[in-house]
Amino acid sequence: MTLSTTAAIKAAPTDVLSSVDALIAGLASVGYIASKRIATALYMAIHLQKPILVEGSAGVGKTELALSTAALLGQPLIRMQCYEGLDESKALYEWKYGKQLLYTQILKDRMGAALSDAADMDAAMDRLHGIGDLFFSEPFLEPRPLMKALKEDDGCVLLIDEIDKSDEAFEAFLLEVLSAYQVSIPELGVIKAKTPPLVFLTSNNVRDLGDALKRRCLHLHIPLPDAALERRIVASRVPDIEATLTAELVGFVQSLRTLDLRKSPSISETVDWARALILLNADSLDVEVVRDTLNVLLKFEPDINAVEPQIGELLRRPAA
């Protein structure tokens, strides 16, 4: 995606959002080939202002969807990777403790001068209360991804990646952000987004998410694509590839998916493989080439061992 296309779309984002078909075309222009169901879910998320929960096995383009949407809408993307142990001080905000300590040091130094002419203790206290209390104030706030997203006044795309890796407590904490687009900071009060961000949550189904979270989101399950869609995706991601090679390699990958493997190759593997084949200057698939590059497609040793003797047979199978 080049800068010029992004800018061109930014000029007329309403056109892109006017219908599902326009959205499909728009996503295609930034290099994301979306099925109708994906585009419909995105369309509803934008119009209902709801977060969208994207599920699917690794490498089907969950994260890519968020990146492409951000490019399409011309909005900044704020990304938050979840992991076990993530808490609000890393996701939302943190006080700048060092600066706060320095501030109290300065305050101590200046305090004597400021209060020296006070008549008695009460007057000194009055004056002390009169001095603006900056200790808990915005300048000492270190915003983290969620807070940043809420503070983007022109809207943004917020990607909360792999929410299933986070803890239940964090999931509960997200509820306020997702339903009201606001957060409460005990010392400062409620901070509310002027323009609600478009939120993507992705999940690999490591654990079941809570009903409360699911209820607040639209749900999108991205399955492995069919052959026609996958050919288009490869053609869009790897522009220099020959159509015949695309058809052959997609056919091969599709037949791999019918086997009982630990990890079936998903779209990202297909695209990587296509790139690898281009680098090797292969213009058609034969047993030799496939065997040499199989480790791009399959990530487990037992899978590779299981597939290797069948390569010839799989290649002869007519492309679906």
Partner: protein, 453 residues
Amino acid sequence: MQGALEDFFRALRAADVKVSPVEAIDAHLTVAKVGFSDRELFKDALCATLAKTADEVVRFDATFDTFFARDQVSFTPPPPSGQDGGDPMDGLPPEAAESDLARMLLEGDAASIAQAMEEAAERAQVSQIRLSTQRSRLTRRLLEEMGLAQIEAIINAARKLEGGGDAADRLEAGKRKLAEEAQRYVARQHELYASGSGKMLREEMLARKALNAEGGIDPVDQAMMQALVKKMAKRLADRYSRRRNRAKRGHMDIRRTLRKSMPYGGMPFEVIWKTEKIDKPSIVCICDVSKSVAAAAQFLLTFLYSLNEVVDRMEAYAFSGRLISVNNILDDEHVDGAIFEVLKRIGFQQTDYGKSLEDFCENHLDHVDRHTTVIFLGDGRSNYADPRLDLMATIQKRARSVIWLNPEPESYWSQGDSVMYRYERFCHVAKTCNTLGQLERIIEDVLRTYVPH
């Protein structure tokens, strides 16, 4: 449209797709946005708002297709035998002119009939159907609401009229067709709203059925039981997979903060908060598969298998006369294969608790430490052999907690060769557990209390 959507939600709920009020509101907003002229768009948009897991998407698709299927019914009436193009109402008594239904039937106006049927169905409350036995009654009600009595009166009157026999036959044929259609309609409604409740009923019965009852579990229910047990084990695993190291916000760790402040000349720039370490507990599960628990062994092993699937640090043992470790079998095989393999190796022999405990203490006692929860699954019937209470005491001393789940009711615990009461002294919890429902409750209670937090 709102009524239709409400019915659709009910159908979805019957198909076990959870639709909360908020989601219902979302769905209405969605429909307002996308309209319902484009069927595919309508379906995809509703799917995004209502179905929240991959499973639910599959069920949503199926329910949507059944619910919004309105296969075109054709009512081609037999043509009047007289001249072509004549009024099909010819030859009927005068009261027929007032009956819309008779006209629709004779003209073969399928669209109007379908609409009339929908309206009548609403009056007859067909969508309230619960059981398949209600089908014929509701079909009857539906036909009555549509005006069947009137049609029958017309047919009778026509037969008495001179030359009305032909028209009566045609109307009769239309009526039969209508009855068939009504039957199909009611059947579809039943499929939509009630097919799920039958399954729920069976699951409920299964959860309450005693697992060591005569004949054990019906082979038909085997798969369902495995699914239920798996769900339970998954819930347990979710609890286990929680974070083990929780930050205690607001409690400063003075010692570590001071240490960190050294490079800054004693200025505490980096504040360290106290954290609470939660140790990861492990489970040792010892399962009796001897003759006396034959009926329950399947169930116990299924539980063992599911537990092994979801809990990381789990050691599984099975015994009847002697005790063996079954970890490898559970890891390698599919659930049925694993159960079969375990039973083949060690199952259905004479029980000897003393000997088995001896085996355990000799070879596997290392796996029990102060983080371990030991779960015994068995009936505590030792065939009058030495129960080796001393070994039980050793285990209790080493373990964090000892839980005994016994498939026999408590009143049997001291009868015959049962030494359950003597073992019970060394258990933190000893409970009867012979139905899935009980097992579920015990998992909730016991593990909440005894799995260390």
